[in-house]
């Protein structure tokens, strides 16, 4: 018995004569669009849409914004960039994935409310079951991780919410976002290089690293990339592990020596592993955004960072954006308003627009164009 979408029984009757009382078969057109075998009920939005002949929307473009240490302006950058994206490109969802005090809602001037995450075991409905929060910015939706609870929201809001969320609900959340509630998603990751953070960072379409041109931020950014590299190397080593016990010690040594030398050593010992590692490194691309640039020489820090990381780690860095220091940004922060919405003549909007263009196109920053006219 066919349980597919309701077909108009009276339409497109078969040419052959039928006995009265029988259900006429489906028309040839509908039969050709049918999948092989019996039609299963649609389980996802895309398959539901495909079964009625509507093309599913493309998956959302996810940009993950991370940094080596906190305080470099990651949430500031994410919130203001989201505003620009909502203005120019389309609806965007900002996700605050900082479990230890994320302030995306503060920057947006909103309050933190617990949001329930859909249970991954339950059958998904086309709506996704996720309610995104909106503010007064059209096209900008947001979601705060700090309020996520693994249950259906029956916990007492007055009690502190557990900061960590399990992997599966997080995956479910990201999958829901990916299936296109909004065409753009910006993930405001937490500072540092936690495993989950690195996972989201690498899985995104654009992996953005925010950096301030000052030594502490640079050091932490280097540590971030070092952990990222170590993660990739460990995964490769695990995949190509030899049963011999000596490899464990060798793996330690590989993880502790210089990355480029680790690759060279690996190429001597285990060429297959080295090949997959090099191939993996080639697919990685980190987009660098320099925040709080105060001087032209700070831009050189970004360029030097790119060159040094490419030499040391063998990772490709794309210098995508430079945001100049805004001496009056603190005023907007006090008022809990987004800086780009202020009409005080700040060029932050233009800088973010340029950065957005580069991130979309995957191109490098043109340094002379970034330096503001005197």
């Amino acid at each position: 018995m066919l349980s597919g979408p309701a077909e108009d029984v009276g339409a497109s009757r078969d040419e052959s004569s039928e006995l009265p009382g029988t259900i006429p078969p489906l028309s040839r057109e509908s039969r050709s669009t049918r999948a092989d075998g019996p039609i299963a009920p649609p389980t996802t939005t895309s398959s539901l849409l495909a079964s009625i002949g509507v093309a599913a929307p493309p998956p959302a473009r996810i940009w993950a914004i991370a940094s080596g240490k906190g305080g470099v302006g990651r949430s500031f950058f994410t919130a203001n960039l989201g505003c620009i994206v909502a203005r120019d490109e389309g609806p965007v969802t900002l996700v605050d994935l900082d479990p230890h005090g994320g302030n995306l809602h503060t920057l947006l001037g909103q309050s933190a409310e617990p949001i329930s995450v859909p249970d991954p075991t339950s059958p998904r409905t086309p709506g996704g079951g996720l309610s995104l929060r909106t503010g007064d910015i059209p096209g900008l939706y947001w979601l705060s991780f700090g309020g996520l609870s693994p249950t259906d929201g029956s916990s007492d809001p007055a009690e502190p919410v557990a900061p960590m969320i399990g992997r599966e609900p997080m995956e479910a959340l990201l999958q829901t976002l990916r299936t296109g509630r909004t065409p753009w998603v910006l993930l405001d990751l937490e500072a540092g290089a936690a495993p989950l953070t690195l996972e989201h960072f690498l899985a995104a379409e654009r992996s953005v690293l925010v950096l301030q041109p000052e030594p502490a931020a640079v050091e932490c950014a280097h540590a971030f990339i070092r952990r990222l590299f170590a993660r990739e190397l460990e995964a490769i080593l695990k995949r190509h592990r030899d049963p011999a016990a000596a490899d464990r010690g060798q793996d330690r040594i590989l993880l502790s020596c210089r990355p480029a030398e680790a690759v060279a050593r690996l190429q001597e010992d285990r060429p297959a592993a080295a090949e997959s590692l090099v191939a993996r490194l080639k697919t990685l691309r980190i987009h660098l955004v320099l925040n709080q640039v105060r001087h032209v020489s700070d831009l050189e820090v970004g360029v030097a960072f790119k060159r040094v990381v490419e030499a040391y780690f063998g990772l490709a860095i794309c210098f995508s954006g430079a945001i100049w220091y805004d001496a009056e940004a603190w005023l907007s922060a006090r008022r809990r308003r987004l800086r780009v919405r202020e009409s005080s003549g700040s060029s932050l909007g233009e800088q973010l627009e340029l950065c957005m263009r580069h991130l979309i196109d995957g191109t490098e920053l043109d340094l002379p164009a970034v330096i503001p006219p005197l």
């Binding site: 010690g249 040594i253 060279a264």
Partner: protein, 470 residues
């Protein structure tokens, strides 16, 4: 991998069709990223390593900005299918710069998640494998019994008072971390052989630039002999296995490890045939070598003091100058008879006019020879004329260049390489020639000379021609 294996164009981030102005601009731009005071640099590279990288960039700029050398280099790139730069790996680069990669940063190991086979979740010191590595590192840091400290903290204590280096000395050479399963740690098998830094040889040390000295060579110091006299490799290694690999003679004279496959002569010939180009023209440009020691290339930064002529060097230089007034060098049949000047002049006793005519026009290429090639050549052919010729050709130096720098006639140099001892001057002259050639090729002078002369005497006594009284 990515950086050091780039050719000169890629290092400067220019296309092969760039003009000289573009190359200069690109060099200045790239050099800015590698400034010693760059905050993007200091967490990853030490000052010595930064200096080494800067000198590599400078070499790229030097070669590419000179049209003649650039033509040669382009031809070389077209000839070799690899299209790579002077170095293939970082190890090669650090070895050439006489640097040791920075100490493994064990505290920066990532947090390891629980793996399927139940290993510890975090690399704490309680993990046996890590502890063994830590012990190996501590053992390396311990001072060796012969009194020379291998390493004193993160900043090695500068021993040389020559003041040539501004940013401290290159770190002591230490073996790579040994596999933790083996205790006490045997001589590390990879990287195979690392010569000790000058600091371990004790003061005073003739310090050259930390960067870009030819591979397989220590700076010229009188303590080479002391190191050799201190005992053979077995004595040193028996004394202290932990520091065995730190002493140079054990490194140099130990047989190649079994992991290294012996390179056949064909592959050596092939490699020599594919050797790097001679990016210099013999008679173009300006520049002069001042002493018979290895000349320092012009424009190198940081400007090191040239290798000071230590007493041993001076003795060697004096030895190369023929002292006896009675002994007359037999004139080579092809060369015209030239007036010999007796006495210990810096021209080595050759004709002043001849020596004056040949001026070293430009510094020799600083490209190092891989250590494994050196060892293979030596093991298979001995340190004879063919050895010198192979090294010379690999470095892309012509006989004219050697003649210009050493003031030894090209004819004699050719005979030296062909081992035509019958046509060469007496042994004392031959020894002087080999001394100068070895010094120029940045080889170990005493060892090369003794090896060559051993071969000389073997052949001469075997031939029974009565040369030099044999």
């Amino acid at each position: 991998m990515a950086f050091v294996s780039r050719n000169y164009y890629e290092l400067l981030e220019v296309t092969p069709t760039a003009t000289s102005e573009e190359i200069s601009l690109a060099y200045r731009a790239v050099r800015k990223s590698w400034r010693p005071d760059s905050i993007a640099l200091y967490p990853l590279y030490s000052p010595e390593e930064t200096a080494a990288i800067r000198s590599l960039l400078e070499e790229a700029h030097t070669v590419l900005s000179d049209p003649a050398r650039r033509v040669d280099y382009d031809r070389y790139l077209r000839f070799t299918s690899r299209k790579l730069g002077p170095y293939s790996t970082w190890e090669e680069f650090w070895e050439a710069a006489h640097l040791e990669p920075s100490e493994p940063n064990l505290s920066d190991l990532p947090v390891v998640e629980e793996s399927s086979d139940g290993r510890a979740a975090s690399p704490t010191a309680s993990e046996p494998a890590l502890r063994a590595v830590v012990e190996a590192v501590a053992a390396r840091s311990a001072p060796s019994p012969d009194g020379s400290a291998a390493r004193s903290g993160p900043a090695p204590v500068p021993v040389a008072s020559s003041g040539a280096l501004t940013a401290g000395m290159p770190r002591a050479r230490t073996p790579s971390p040994v596999p933790p399963a083996v205790t006490p740690p045997p001589p590390a098998h990879r990287p195979p052989m690392r010569p000790a830094s000058p600091s371990e040889l004790g003061p005073p040390v003739a310090e050259g630039s930390p960067a870009r000295d030819a591979g397989g060579v220590r700076p010229q110091s009188g303590h080479l002999g002391r190191g050799l006299e201190a005992g053979g490799p077995t004595a040193v290694s028996a004394r202290d296995p932990a520091s065995a690999t730190q002493s140079l003679p054990s490194m140099r004279s130990a047989p190649p490890s079994p992991e290294q496959p012996r390179i056949s002569t064909d592959s050596i010939e092939a490699r020599v045939a594919q050797s790097r180009p001679s990016p210099l023209r013999p008679e173009s440009g300006a520049g002069a070598a001042q002493s018979d020691a290895a000349p320092a290339p012009a424009g190198r930064t940081p400007a090191p003091a040239s290798v000071p002529v230590s007493p041993d060097n001076r003795a060697a230089a004096a030895r190369s100058a023929p002292m006896p007034t009675t002994a007359q060098a037999p004139a080579p049949p092809e060369a015209a008879a030239e007036q010999r000047v007796d006495g210990g002049t810096s021209t080595g006793g050759w004709s002043r006019s001849y020596a004056a005519g040949l001026k070293p026009t430009r510094p020799l290429p600083e490209m190092p020879v891989p250590r494994d090639l050196l060892e293979q050549l030596e093991a298979q052919q001995g340190m004879g004329g063919a050895y010198l010729k192979a090294i010379r050709e690999y470095k892309g130096i012509s006989l004219n260049d050697i003649a210009a720098h050493t003031k030894v006639q090209t004819t004699y140099l050719k005979y030296l390489e062909e081992e035509r001892f019958a046509d060469l001057p007496p042994a004392v002259y031959v020894e002087g020639f080999v001394n100068q050639v070895a010094r120029l090729l940045k080889l170990e002078v005493k060892r090369t000379v003794s090896g060559y002369m051993r071969r000389y005497y073997e052949i001469v006594s075997a031939s029974g021609n009565g040369l030099d009284g044999f």
